[in-house]
Amino acid sequence: MNEEIAFWMLSAIAVLGALVAVRKRNLIHGVFALMVFFAGLAGLFLLLLAEFIAAAQILVYIGAVGILLLFAIMLTERVAGDDGRRMTSRGWFWGLVAAVAVFVVLLLPPIQQFPSPEHARAIEPSVKELGEKLMHPYVVTLEVLALLLTAALIGAVTAAQGVRMPKEEDSPE
Amino acid sequence: MSLLGGGILKGMAVTLRNFVGSYFDRDRLTTNDYAWRAGDSLPQHAGEYPKEEGEQLRDTTTVSQYSRNFPMLLHDEGEAMDTIRCVACQICERECPPQCIYIEKSTEKMERGGNKAQFYPAKFDIDVSVCMSCQICVEVCPFDAIVMNSQFELSTSNRFGGLLLRRDDLLKSNGYYHKIHPEEAAARDRRMAEEKAAKEAKKKAAAEAARKKAEEKAKAEAEADDKKQEDTQ
């Protein structure tokens, strides 16, 4: 009973947050709606007893990705987005149709065919277990991930810094 | 090589010494409590604050660090408006750097103290929230009508008109001036008396001179008349 109420509330928060994030003209409002979505999802993870993932979700998505998005928006144009320009892309109607089609055609039948276990098994959530798993069978993955993050860091810095154009190229021929 | 973070520790020692010291050594305190609560246990150098609510101070010829010094209007002994010194000449209004003085001249003249009838200020406002206590108005006043006051409790809860002092707020007797700035007031009175005496003497001299001149003129005229008569003869 408790779980059901929590599920419906959290999924409503998540879906509404996502919809507002996608449709809002004001980008800052959009990012904050996105964070509401992330928070709702973190709640759902908690409900599924994946508490470390929920913490990571808040830490990474709200604490880091959200802030990064805010900085990117502040660094680019049109923060409030109230300049009357068109918000949607050219083929937005067909995009909408395609998205709904993906939902209906690709996702619904497989879900219905999937054998559904009625009850989840009782588990004892343990962060320690997760950490040991990371160290024993998945240590290579972890290292590769560390490498990936370093590469992403360097790549992001160089990409955002931009290439310094030599002065000669600016002069007209 | 100095200890890393040693500067921070040294600073913390200083503040700790001040913290503890302020409880034991009353002379450390740079501020003092309202006098009527602290009673006789005031720190020594904090004695320039009135001991009782509304009490005025002994000599504050030098500016006290606790008082606020804004101009006031002087009147001589007697009814305030009958003996006001100001004649609404508006010199101070023009000279005031922050332009915090506002004067409206009266329409009819008024005689006071046996002098020649003069105008008087129908309105004389000083916005002490603007005034910067520069004393230029005091310097320029030819009538010794405006001098500096020393006040302690100017604070008000009215943020719109509370700090705009009207003519009647500003009017203070010469006796009050003597009480708060005895030496300065005495010097000013002496100077005024001297000036007055000098003026009288000058007037007398001028009258004498005028009389003499008139006599001479009469004499000259008489002589001229005599000459004329001689010429015609």
Binding site: M1, N2, I5, I28, H29, F32, M35, E51, F52, A54, A55, A56, I58, L59, I62, G63, A64, G66, I67, L70, F71, M74, P125, S126, V127, K128 | M1, L4, I8, G11, M12, V14, T15, L16, N18, F19, G21, S22, Y23, R28, L29, T30, T31, D33, Y34, R37
Partner: protein, 386 residues
């Protein structure tokens, strides 16, 4: 929801929401008083017990001041700038308060009435410490929201400064907590506190001492306390992100800031100062909560003391300090902790040796970093003066 669960949740959370705001009121008074004494002033001493004579003998060192401040805040005009984003302007102070209040649940304070409510104690969550850091990070968003919604350049500057500062200092903060987590082998706050029962506090180990110092410095920056109070530097940007806030909204920001201070000090107490451990708790279990709060107040007192002592940092110094000094040191500290853990410490000689060697390594590293970061500035040549 079953009524039992609701009751348990209320018993577990409502005391936190009563006790800490009360302590907040007391702390504002304490801070004003202590700062005043540091500057050789007297501090608030007028407002006393309500309804007694004004300035009378029941002034109790001005303990009524917080109450008077609160009433004043409540009755002040709520001003919203014309161009402000009204919704965000309203939400920001609330969002600033919620995470701060929320993380209080992760502190292992063992109030006597909570013993029967084990299932709803958030600090028994397996990842309590990581949750603490995750939720503390939400504070940045509230600050950005306030700065952006005010439509004021100073507010936005303050908000941006706050984000940059809090994101940077979160890293040394977490890395210094990692040492303790590594040693205990658990992210559970209660387990970390239990591991320090008796006098085995982690601050009494070389790596723990270093981690505690780093953690404390980073927590000062994280809660925007002096000398890291650049986001609200009044001499530079008025009041930073809450320039445009007045009345009760401002009070909420103020409350949120102080609650965050309590929370992060509480975490420092949990990680390094033994949680609720202290003399006398074996006979009187309720003393444990008292000890916990007393330790929090000891840390707060040091924060106030530092605020009265140190001048504010410059922005470049602030960032350089986080990235070029605290971050390498906290990483080195993890290594030192690992070595100290594996060297056997049976007798006093080896213990002393471990202390000397590990602190020596850390001190030399700090000294070296300090030398490296020292700006290359010669004494200035004055052309005209002298």
């Amino acid at each position: 929801m079953s009524p039992d669960l609701v009751r348990d949740i209320l018993i577990a959370t409502v005391p936190l929401m009563v006790i800490f705001p009360t302590l907040f009121a007391f702390t504002t008074w304490l801070e004003r008083k202590a700062l005043a004494r540091i500057q050789n002033r007297i501090g608030p001493n007028k407002v006393g017990v309500p309804l007694t004579r004004y300035g009378g003998r029941f002034s109790l060192f001005g303990l009524g001041q917080p109450l008077a401040d609160g009433i004043k805040m409540l009755f002040k005009e709520n001003i919203v700038p014309r161009d402000a984003d009204r919704l965000f302007h309203l939400l920001a102070p609330i969002l600033a308060l919620i995470p701060a209040m929320l993380v209080l649940c992760f502190l292992p304070i063992e109030f006597p009435w909570t013993e029967s409510l084990l299932p709803v104690q958030a600090f028994l969550l397996d990842g309590a410490v990581i949750f603490f850091f995750a939720i503390t990070g939400l504070n940045t968003l509230a600050i950005f929201m306030a700065g952006w919604a005010s439509r004021n350049k100073y507010s936005l500057l303050g908000g941006m400064r706050a984000i940059a500062q809090m994101v940077s200092y979160e890293i040394p903060l977490v890395l210094s907590a990692v040492v303790v987590v590594m040693m205990v082998g658990s992210l559970n706050a209660a387990e970390i506190a239990n591991a320090q029962a008796g006098w085995n506090w982690f601050v009494f180990t070389p790596w723990g001492l270093a981690a505690f110092v780093i953690f404390f410095i980073a927590s000062l920056a994280e809660t925007n306390r002096s000398p890291f109070d650049l986001p609200e530097a009044e001499s530079e940007i008025i009041a930073g992100y809450f320039t445009e806030y007045s009345g009760f909204k401002f009070a909420l920001f103020f409350l949120g800031e102080y609650i965050a201070m309590f929370a992060i000090s509480g975490l420092a107490v949990t990680l390094f100062l033994g949680g609720g451990a202290g003399p006398g708790i074996a006979t009187l279990p309720w003393l444990s909560a008292m000890w916990f709060i007393a330790k929090i107040f000891a840390l707060i007192a040091v924060m106030i003391w530092l605020r009265g002592t140190l001048p504010r940092l410059r922005v470049d110094q602030l960032m350089g300090f986080a990235w070029k000094f605290l971050l390498p040191l906290s990483i080195l500290n993890i290594l030192v902790a690992g070595f100290a853990h594996f060297i056997p410490q049976e007798n006093i000689v080896s213990k002393v040796a471990v202390w000397v060697v590990s602190l020596g390594i850390l001190y030399m590293a700090a000294k070296g970093l300090n030398q490296l970061n020292r700006p290359n500035v010669r004494p200035r040549d004055y052309k005209y003066a002298e």
